[in-house]
Symmetry: C2
Subunit: 324 residues, 2 copies
């Protein structure tokens, strides 16, 4: 099997690359390196089954050439910056919605029909049901990022219905673990490395969030996407899964874990408000019984995942220099 991995130089994408190569598969990474890190592919680059194409999903010609001959697509490329969406609202529609359309068309031209898509809990806006199942009420979108992820889901499921594609969309909570490149742990560690005496936290700290370790996320994705899913053949050829930990943590508690893990005694200062920024969902807690019923269970709890991420960031200070 030859896999085409968009955003393959990113946090999630590069882990997918490593796992496929480890299992003997072939990989074509397609990444414009706008946020991807060539460092994440250090080990992959030494593998003869690996190919990197530095390209943009807006470049349809290069995309069509590059994808040809692949068997399956992992679509991980995205503008993942939820917080600054309102500063340039075209980013989400272009980097998420339009490029997903381009990718689906490239797949159709090359007769590639299987796609795994990295959606997000953010596509659910502020749900009213907790833990939130896949069948929760139609969301009212609260961020351009979330709206674009749901738009991508709609495109993919339409291609499944209309062109016989097979699609798997995973709505993730925020992920943690090695190569973690942005998010609250990143921000907190970066701030504390700059000033170890205090930590500014956006919002009132009462936001409740679920997090998941990247390894657990990959276990779930490959369980669903790799299996010979004969039992499912009578079902709709588009499936959505919620992925997260069956627990959540308050941001204030997370801040204390991070400070402890760095052996500091910083004073926490809250900016106030129920959200860290406009579009921030103050309570993220997904119902993961669907994926659990297929035999998956997470191996890492939230606290240990935060600590591991803090250590990884402190051992890889370069990423906090490179990234905002």
């Amino acid at each position: 099997m030859k896999y085409f991995i968009t955003g393959g130089a990113g946090f999630i994408g590069s882990h997918i690359v490593d796992r496929i190569l480890k299992e003997g598969g072939q990989v074509v990474v397609y990444d414009n390196l706008s946020t991807g890190q060539i460092n994440f592919l250090e080990s992959a680059k030494t593998n003869k089954n690996f190919e990197l194409i530095v390209g943009d999903l807006l470049d349809k010609d290069l995309l069509n050439t590059s994808i040809s001959g692949c068997d399956m697509v992992f679509h991980m490329a995205a503008n993942a910056d939820i917080r600054h969406g309102l500063e340039n609202p075209y980013n989400d529609i272009e980097q998420n919605t339009i490029v997903t359309f381009n990718l689906l068309e490239a797949m159709r031209k090359s007769n590639i029909k299987r796609i795994v898509f990295a959606s997000s809990a953010a596509a659910l806006g502020e749900p009213e049901q907790f833990p939130t199942p896949e069948s929760c009420a139609v969301p009212i979108q609260t961020s351009l990022y979330g709206a674009s992820k749901m738009a991508c889901e709609g495109l993919i499921s339409s291609y499944c219905e209309g062109y016989g594609f097979e699609g798997y969309a995973f709505r993730f909570v925020s992920l943690l673990g090695p190569r973690y490149p942005h998010g609250h742990v990143f921000d907190f560690v970066k701030k504390l490395r700059h000033d170890s005496s205090k930590l500014e936290v956006l919002g009132d700290g009462k936001q409740r969030k679920s997090y998941m370790h990247i390894d657990d996320c990959l276990d779930a994705i490959f369980l669903v996407a790799n299996e010979k899913r004969t039992a499912l053949q009578s079902k709709r050829n588009y499936q959505v899964y919620h992925l997260g930990n069956p627990e959540y943590i308050k941001v204030s508690d997370s801040a204390m874990i991070i400070i402890d893990q760095m052996d500091l005694t910083a004073k926490i200062e809250y900016t106030g408000g129920r959200q860290g920024w406009i579009g921030d969902n103050p309570f993220v807690f997904l119902d993961v019984t669907k994926i659990q019923s297929e035999g998956w269970s997470p191996k890492n709890n939230i606290k240990d995942s935060i600590c591991e991420t803090v250590d990884w960031l402190n051992n890889n200070g370069w990423i906090m220099e490179n990234r905002q």
Copy 2:
């Protein structure tokens, strides 16, 4: 008040134009006349409060100039051809999703914050709950058209959350009445005018659909959008309403009503299958208790609306010559 009406030369748009002009409002119609009919604006054109701009929503410069000075937007322009979406999948993303983004950006530049949006029951895919309420389960999209309408809803609600817009999205069932330009009544009447001895019906005829008269649709829209909604000010500034009749009809029954209304004895031939085409939802029946609870009720039942539409089409044969 000065209203900017995209697709103002279309079926729904032109009725909105007439109603606003009748109530003394000012109207700017923005329409590329790709499917809009200049005939529909015959009466409007004689009104001093009316202005027609033949323009495309992809032409951002003209859009920005044209919208300036308006107070509120009715966004009715769309690619409304669900059935042929798979022949050119870019149509829906461009004519629905991207132009809606362009429109929202033009509004933002001109500091216009109120928008009414024509969404669709098709944005719900094939729901499992009937009648289907606004809070039904997150849909699995089954048509590019439906997916694009949901993408537009997501953009609009994100602008409400992020930029303080006030948005009203109406998910319509199929509408009937004067100026009806496409859909099953159109197709059936056109076929029967060509050959009155038989009528080919797509699917097995058992599809169940709700329809609504255009006048009832406008009553609902103006009830919500025109009211000084002080009571709602504490609620979220984005609202979705399902609009339809609290009844439905089988396609086979509708076919017989149409044949009777034309005084024919045509033999009905079914092409078979639960759907008329890929993406056709075989059961459309919306829960309209939300809009009913605000004081609306439909004045026209489905049967009378079909008959009125048949008569209008037969008195306006030109539209079946102009349109596919």
